[in-house]
Symmetry: C2
Subunit: 254 residues, 2 copies
Amino acid sequence: MVKDIEGQENERPLIFIGNDDGFRAGGLEALINIAADYGDVVAVAPFEHQSGKSSAITVDFPLRVHSIRNTERVKLYSVNGTPVDCAKLAFDRLLPRVPDLLLSGINHGYNSGNSVIYSGTMGVVFEGSFRGVPSVGFSYGDYMPDADFSLCEPIVRQVIEKVLAEGLPEGVCLNVNIPKCERILGLKRVKSASGYWKEEFEERVDPHGRVYYWLTGQYHNAEPDNPATDHYWLNRNYATVVPCRADQTAYDYL
Amino acid sequence: MVKDIEGQENERPLIFIGNDDGFRAGGLEALINIAADYGDVVAVAPFEHQSGKSSAITVDFPLRVHSIRNTERVKLYSVNGTPVDCAKLAFDRLLPRVPDLLLSGINHGYNSGNSVIYSGTMGVVFEGSFRGVPSVGFSYGDYMPDADFSLCEPIVRQVIEKVLAEGLPEGVCLNVNIPKCERILGLKRVKSASGYWKEEFEERVDPHGRVYYWLTGQYHNAEPDNPATDHYWLNRNYATVVPCRADQTAYDYL
């Protein structure tokens, strides 16, 4: 028996949800709707979109919390900070207890290959992982604000059900990517593809004649033909799950 | 024979330096001064301090570059972005070629234990690591802006000389922490201590009666007595080096 978010005893799991696209994002709404079938949901999301914020935290300005939705099974708050600020505030102030499960996303766009390191979606997941909470990030291969997340639902349910039933090994969290395609052929357990971003800055001149740079670029996959990697299978209409650790110690070299 | 930063042929290594405390930081100046003994230095640092920015990148506003210093052996630029923005701009626009070595810091304050994940200093290091450049972050256990970095010098030189001579294994980069003490007893190769931050937000009320939160907290070390960890030795006046990987795939669980 566990306490729900009003302190009542019940058997519904407590599920925390974060994201990096902000509290208005369609991917967040889709994830909340699915998760509410499995437990009581507390979602805390950035006030504005926070793409590429990695595990950044805010030390220079104060954070404010707004309650956006407050129903029996779903509480949604916005915070004027980064994805990880939202998660930290949730664990410290907004959650009634340590949650049984942490979900992040569904991100508008992949967090695959080396992009994991820039991902606020995965920043939230690592935050849960530090606290011993089974934690999963979901990303969908459609960057558009009006992306249709209904295709993701079977994979999201499959992963949630497995993690709620079995948990995850200590220190391990999951990064799930789902391709945009008519029919997903399955779910592959793989590693992140190695690579890097090329030609990243576009040079422009402002109306006052001064140069500025805008981040852009193409991902260069160093192992496009490696079937052990996420990119390989995403390009072939499979969803992928990469088990991850927040700890970046290179144990094999120690 | 390599080309130096003016395109002349010479045998001096090209060294890139980044940080997260900004271009005015004493720790950056100390690292530039040491590195200039070993090669030609190009340093690109944030215009303002950027603590806790992890691997965050800037997608919502344009970046501008200012030349701060331009001598034969040292070029220093500032950029109005994150530590990783600075590194990406350097690799894409400001470096004449791929550097032989990347250094980051010297950070004002430790980047030890789980704090690595929030560290802009280490964000820069991971950026170099993606590109196959031997990359090292240095952090010193004194948070003060006027910290005296002279105590760090022997350790910094020892690591630079070893990495320039031997390189690093593929995908491995280094996180070096140096304690503030009268005499450093040695350098230990260890893993990052496990732990998390507790009691992180201070609640205050603004002059208009509205609640806000400020990030604060205490690090909770989950393994204080483990001599395989960085915290254990930093508390005993040893410097530590943790070999790290940017790739967070949990290979042992795959």
